[in-house]
Amino acid sequence: MNLRYATVALYTLTRREVLRFARIWIQTMLPPAVTTVLYFVIFGKLIGSQIGPIDGHSYIEYIIPGLILMSVITNAYANVVASFYSSKFHGNIEEMLISPMPAYIILAGFIIGGVLRGLLVGGVVFGVSLFFGHLPYPDIGLTLLMLLMTAALFSMAGLINGVYAKSFDGISIIPTFVLTPLTYLGGIFYSLEMLPDFWRGVSLLNPIFYMINVFREGALGSSDIGAGLAIGITALFLAAFTAVCLYLLDRGVGIRT
């Protein structure tokens, strides 16, 4: 496996992934922008005006980082799960399986596709957020690091879902019943200090809570937990998910007979 081959194969797969979501931009890029405008208007302006400042920031400013990261999470996940499952459904996963591409290039191609869509939609939401509030971004490096780690992690989660999905229902069950509750209960709309003890404990078991808090620390300079711990936990999840994805692709689980 030489570098030139790996570069061409990875470029091809990435380009295919980007063209896929760009071709259907009305389904992939537009809805998050519309939904986020609604969040900003309803939760930020209408309800948020009734809520006092949190950690010295207005409520709308407090929820902006969480909403950006939520759009990154859902879009990175949705991109990979939809693309991988539709490749299985149409049969064109065979194009990759019969080719000399090793599992790590196939994984990298899907992940880059998911990350790019996550970042693009995150960028759209960030653009919309500028109409509602301006964040200081005291640690832009931390913000970008968490953005990339989160997008990569949820792209891999989408791939695992895609591997096991046997129908289009199978690709919507996890986002609906697992991902959405975890995201909403991940501290987008509230600080840990606002919760009773029980729910505070529950929040600490939610990995998305750590990601949102680190992202918020980079964007606002305030967080409920330390950045080092959160980055460590996210990195551990990344390593575990990478190993699982490579194993599944290498063994052909769900794609080879």
């Binding site: 061409v8 797969l13 380009r15 149409h90 049969g91 019969i98 080719s99």
Partner: protein
């Protein structure tokens, strides 16, 4: 002579316990045009699936141009092109895009991939359709698209799983010519088909698989020599009320001006014609109607069936 494909003691047992392959051996030389035939469920597609890494084997070994597909998958895969039985492309992608992507998976850079896509789409009569979504192509066009896709990386071994299923006669002949030219230019071809005429016309060597086992593996000519009879349709100049009994062959009336003649393969046809003349039967024309491979195939996979109608 270089070996293109070597299959040794290939076993496959599916998760539901179905034994699809019971230890098959197969040897295909470089440059061959090889037919792999068998009834539905015999194990043809399983064999092809394992060779192309779409199905995991249970046991045995496979090497492609000397590269073991298990120990050295990347090198082995580089040499294989596959035209599968089912459509296996994203129906919503444009035709040219499908080809460029496939080439890229094999390391062909975009510019070269574009050039090759143009070459093959033109050869297969699809260049005008290059910007169309694949779902808008006809069945025959989709088959040709898969053929073009399989050739983008210049494989030494092309495997076609029923490439002419569902295409009209004109396109079938175009595909035959294309494959013949491809084989002449040095590509080894393995073909499975239900059109036995196709296999007989195109292939030099043949293996027949039945119930997960190879039951015949020989040059096409040797296999056909095992056939015991030939049949002809005779078109008569004048109507005939009843077919006479001949000593040298069996004669059966189809209608008043058409007879079916079945002869033993060792029969002297001159003797048959003399007998016909003796019965004052005047021929307008005749046609060999044996689908020789089909008869042999049926005899081998269904031994109880008698291929001689007498």
């Amino acid at each position: 002579m270089t070996t293109a494909l070597e299959i040794s003691q290939l076993h496959k047992v599916y998760a539901n316990g179905h034994v699809a392959l019971k230890g098959i051996d197969l040897h295909v030389e470089h440059g061959d045009f090889f037919a792999l035939l068998g009834p539905n469920g015999a194990g043809k597609s399983t064999t092809i699936g394992i060779v192309t890494s779409l199905i995991n084997k249970t046991g045995g070994s496979i090497s492609v141009y000397g590269h073991d597909i298990h120990r050295n998958p990347s090198q082995a895969k580089t040499h294989i092109g596959l035209v599968p039985q089912e459509y296996s492309f994203n129906q919503f992608e444009p035709v040219e895009e499908i080809l460029i992507n496939q080439a890229g998976y094999y390391g062909v850079p975009p510019r070269e991939a574009k050039r090759r896509a143009r070459e093959h789409l033109t050869q297969l009569g699809l260049w005008e359709k290059r910007a169309n979504q694949a779902r808008n192509l006809s069945g025959g066009m989709k088959r040709r698209l898969m053929m073009a896709r399989a050739l983008l990386h210049r494989p030494k071994l092309l495997i076609l799983d029923e490439p002419t299923a569902g295409v009209d006669i004109e396109i079938r002949r175009m595909i035959w010519e294309f494959l013949t030219d491809l084989n002449r230019s040095g590509t080894t071809i393995i073909l499975t088909t239900h059109y036995l005429e196709e296999a007989e016309k195109l292939c030099r060597n043949i293996a027949i698989i039945d119930d997960g086992q190879i039951i015949a593996d020989s040059p096409m000519r040797s296999l056909l020599e095992r056939l015991e009879s030939e049949s002809f349709t005779l078109y008569l100049r004048e109507p005939l009320a009843e077919a006479p009994k001949l000593r040298s062959a069996q004669l059966r009336s189809i209608d008043s001006r058409t007879l079916e003649l079945v002869t033993d393969k060792h029969t002297d046809l001159g003797e048959v014609f003399s007998e016909l003349q003796a019965h004052n039967i005047k021929l307008l024309s005749l046609r060999n109607t044996s689908n020789r491979l089909e008869e042999l195939f049926l005899k081998m996979v269904s031994p109880e069936q008698d291929i001689n109608p007498s």
